[in-house]
């Protein structure tokens, strides 16, 4: 079999045909009374709208090439990811969205710079064609990790408050008392990426690699990129989780080594 040099461009009507598959899902929902058809329709509409917007936005950034367009897009990505990272947790701490934003910016920028500057060596390192897709992958995974990490940390500090305060009451420093819950939280945030590194290529073919192969890249080259991306995601996720965990720790333990459990609130806006 010959490899096509490039992917076949899809016409809009061709994409529309793929919508038939979503329609099939909707029919199943109606027949089995799953009551998912409305959600499915909204989700499908959002997929089209959001991707169309990002397609035009990226096209604008890549082609128009005003330098200031890059920080704008990157900032929006960080802000949306920061919000998404904390939106679903069942407990919250004031200022948590800002903390998630900071954790994502720090972990995202460090890993992206390492990859584009030191690994790929693209000039300049913030060339949007590399920066934005890679950052998107780092953030998408990083926010999932941070979200799990925050959930776990707030849950264990609430539910295992007795243990933490018992350790404090016997002379543990705040760090000694918090280390267990913090480590559990970071571990929890890291599990998804470790799991996907375990099965990548065996059970799943990552979207990026699939895309490159369809676009005509020879598989071994696509695999190299994918390995780099997996490592980048692992780095970004662990760094993001640790930073987030540490910032929450600083917020919930004061200099008097007291646990400020009343700073943890139940999430009210469901």
């Amino acid at each position: 079999m010959m490899l096509a040099a490039t992917a076949i461009d899809l016409a809009t009507w061709q994409v529309a045909i793929s919508g038939v598959l979503v329609l099939a899902a909707g029919v199943i929902s109606v027949v089995l009374d799953l009551r998912l058809e409305k959600k499915l329709a909204i989700a499908a509409a959002r997929t089209v709208l959001q991707l169309a917007l990002i397609g035009y936005a990226l096209g604008w950034v890549f082609q128009v090439g005003h330098w200031w367009s890059i920080p704008i897009v990157v900032l929006i990505m960080f802000a949306v990811a920061g919000r998404a990272a904390v939106k679903r947790s069942s407990r919250r701490v004031r200022g948590m969205t800002v903390l998630a934003f900071v954790a994502l910016v720090a972990s995202g920028m460090v890993t992206i710079f390492t990859i584009t500057f030191a690994v790929i060596g693209v000039q300049p390192w913030y060339t949007p064609q590399y920066l934005i897709p890679l950052l998107g992958m780092a953030l998408g995974n990083g926010l999932t990790g941070i979200s799990l990490c925050v959930d776990q940390m707030l849950d264990s500090l609430t539910e295992r408050r007795g243990e933490v305060e018992m350790e404090l009451s016997l002379g543990a420093t705040r760090w000694e008392a918090a280390r267990g819950p913090l480590a559990d939280a970071v571990r929890r945030g890291m599990i998804p990426i470790i799991n996907s590194m375990m099965v990548v290529g065996v059970v799943s073919l990552p979207g990026m690699m699939t895309g490159q192969i369809i676009a005509g890249q020879i598989p071994v080259e696509a695999v190299k990129y994918q390995i780099m991306v997996m490592f980048m995601i692992a780095g970004a996720t662990s760094m993001g989780c640790i930073l987030m965990g540490l910032m929450i720790y600083r917020r919930l333990f004061n200099a008097r080594h007291q646990l400020l459990v009343d700073r943890i609130h139940k999430q009210s806006d469901a």
């Binding site: 007795g162 243990e163 018992m166 404090l168 016997l170 002379g171 543990a172 008097r256 646990l259």
Partner: protein, 281 residues
């Protein structure tokens, strides 16, 4: 110290509270401590035992602007045991947590040997004023790992005393062969004793006990009381114990501090003149 486990002792608890409230008419507006029975002349006192004493000065605790405790004054010498009594919800546990510095007082101060927690350093303060919570809280590890844990802390000033731990396990009916057992598989009473052992091993100057014998059978109760009395009388430990058990107060304590919700009051000294008899080790 303490008791009130099981149905039989439940009755005694009610009796004790009834007794306290019957004295309400004689309360004044100030919390006072009341000497119980025996004069200090009956106590064998080691002249070297006057280590750092605990002082509560005008201590108050508030939560969200509401005063939970106020105007508490108490001097606790080493080798002295004082009971904290009062109806449920009057802030006994909050008082212990404040002295342990897990909670910041809203008024007044707590000093140990003249020093504030900030001067001693909070973790070191808590190691010197160890607290035994009402719920026996153990880590999900073995009995031995639980006992060793406080010796991993930065504030540890000595190595884990394995021999002493084994002796205490024996003496308090937990059993030394249980060292490998999962701590959480023990009965509530055993867990209470394990927590006591863990606190005693770090050799605090002051021990705060929150109903430490509430789940114990009479035999274990006896062993625990004997050990605590020994620590107080022979080693100069100062102990502040929350208990509902009047018998225990009489057996063990020199004085009692009565707490009332929100109000500062001193209950009548209904125990005055009682013989504290078997309290001596």
């Amino acid at each position: 110290m303490i008791l009130c486990a099981g149905a039989a002792t439940g009755k005694r608890r009610v009796a004790a509270e009834t007794c306290f409230s019957a004295t309400a008419g004689q309360r004044t507006a100030k919390i006072e401590c009341h000497a119980i029975g025996k004069g200090t002349h009956l106590r064998e006192r080691d002249d070297n035992s006057n280590g750092p004493s605990l002082a509560l000065v005008g201590l108050g605790v508030a939560s969200n602007g509401a005063e939970l405790l106020g105007g508490i004054d108490l001097q606790l010498r080493s080798d002295e045991m004082v009971a904290v009594v009062g109806p449920s919800g009057c802030g006994k546990t909050t008082l212990l947590r404040t002295i342990n510095a897990l909670i910041e007082p809203s008024a007044g101060e707590v000093r140990l040997g003249g020093q504030l927690p900030g001067e001693v350093g909070y973790p070191r303060w808590r190691r010197r004023i160890a607290m035994l919570e009402q719920q026996p809280t153990l880590l999900d590890t073995s009995v031995e790992a639980n006992l060793r844990r406080p010796f991993d802390y930065e504030t540890a000033d000595r190595d884990y005393p394995a021999d002493e731990a084994a002796e205490l396990l024996e003496e308090l009916n937990v059993g030394r062969r249980r060292l490998d057992q999962a701590a959480r598989s023990l009965s509530v009473g055993q867990r209470q004793r394990l927590c006591l052992i863990r606190a005693l091993l770090i050799r605090p100057d002051v021990l705060l006990l929150d109903e430490p014998t509430s789940a114990l059978d009479p035999e274990s109760l006896d062993a625990v009381e004997k050990r605590v009395v020994h620590e107080v009388r022979q080693r100069g430990l100062a102990a502040l114990v929350v208990t509902h058990d009047r018998g225990q107060i009489e057996r063990l304590c020199d004085r009692h501090l009565d707490l009332e919700p929100h109000l500062v009051e001193g209950a009548a000294d209904h125990m005055d003149g009682r013989d504290r008899g078997q309290g001596e080790a």
